[in-house]
Symmetry: C2
Subunit: 144 residues, 2 copies
DNA sequence: CTTTTTCCTACTGAATTAATAGACTTTACT
DNA sequence: AGTAAAGTCTATTAATTCAGTAGGAAAAAG
C-alpha cells in the first residue's frame, strides 16, 4: 500500500499540474483543496523540491510550481521518492537492490522470477502514468 | 514490499509442496532448511492452518502438510492472508476496499484508474503463480 | 505415563508512519 | 526601514506495525 505521504504527494502534484504556468501556488491552497494537513504537506513539498520535482519561491507572491512539464513527471519516480522501492522483494528491486538471505541462488529461485514479472508490469504502468495523462483522463471522465 | 512473515510463509509452502504426499513435516525441519526463526514460523504455519491452506497433526509423528494440491495454492491468496491487501490503494482493493478520503468521485479519479490497472496486472501474475509452477521452474533452472 | 509435536496467549523492542510545534529566512510592498 | 506573507528547517511525539520471544497447555503415539 502507498503511504499517506505518497498519496498526498500525488494529489498535490496533480493539482499543481492543473495550475501549470499559472503562477506559484501556496501550500495553504493545496492543503485546503486536497484535504491534506498543512504542516505535513509542507514537509512533502520540501522533499519534492529537493528532488527537483518542484520549484519554490519564498515570500509574498511565492509558492510552488512544477519544475518540469506535467508530461515529464510520472508516478514511478514520485513513488520511489516518497515510499522507496516499488518492487515487492529487495532482490528484484532496481533502485534498492539487496540480496535475499533466504535464497540459495537468485538464478534458480522460482519465487524471484514471479516478482520480477510483477515489478516489470508495475513499472511499465507507473512509468507511463504522467501528470498530464492523469489530468486528461479526469477531464474526459467528467464530460461523460 | 512483502513482510518477512509473508516471505517466510511462501518459502515454507514451497518446501511443503516439494514434500507433498511424503508425510507430515516438522516445523523444526522447515525452520532449519529455510533459515526461519522457529517460533516465528510456528505462528505463521498456525495461521495458514486456520485459513485451511495447511493441515496439521499433533504429537509424535505429527507435523504439517498441504491441505490442497500444490497446483491449487497460489501466491495471491498467500499474500492476502499474510500481508492483507495487494492493491496499492484502498479504493481499488477487491478484498479490503475502503473509500478514498481525498477523492471527490471515484468515477472521475485519474489516479485511481492507474492503480486499478496495476492491481489487475499484479493479480493476474500472482494468481497464476501456483506452488507447483514455482517448483517446476526451480527444477528446470537447476538443470541448465 | 512419557515423549514428541503442535497450539495458544501474552509480551517486547525496534522501526516506521503520520503528523505537530516553533522558530528562522526570504521576498514584496508600502 | 518595517511589516506581512510566504517557504525552510530542526526537533519531537503518539500510534501503529513488524519481527520475534517466552512459556506453558493440549493432543497423539507408543
Amino acid at each position: 500500500m502507498l503511504s499517506k505521504k505518497c498519496k498526498y504527494a500525488i494529489h498535490a502534484l496533480v493539482y499543481l499540474a492543473e495550475r501549470y504556468q499559472k503562477g506559484p501556488v501556496h501550500i495553504q491552497e493545496i492543503a485546503e483543496k486536497k484535504n491534506i494537513p498543512k504542516k505535513f504537506l509542507e514537509a512533502i513539498l520540501l522533499e519534492l523540491r529537493k528532488a527537483k520535482v518542484l520549484h519554490s519561491k519564498k515570500g509574498k507572491g511565492g509558492g510552488y510550481t512544477l519544475y518540469q512539464k506535467p508530461s515529464e513527471v510520472n508516478l514511478m519516480e514520485i513513488m520511489r521518492l516518497m515510499d522507496g522501492p516499488i518492487a515487492l522483494l529487495p532482490c528484484v528491486s532496481l533502485n534498492y537492490y539487496e540480496r535475499c538471505e533466504e535464497c540459495r541462488s537468485e538464478k534458480t529461485c522460482g519465487i524471484r522470477d514471479v516478482f520480477l514479472n510483477v515489478r516489470d508490469e508495475t513499472l511499465e504502468i507507473l512509468g507511463g502514468s504522467t501528470l498530464d495523462k492523469i489530468l486528461k483522463r479526469e477531464k474526459s471522465m467528467l464530460t461523460k
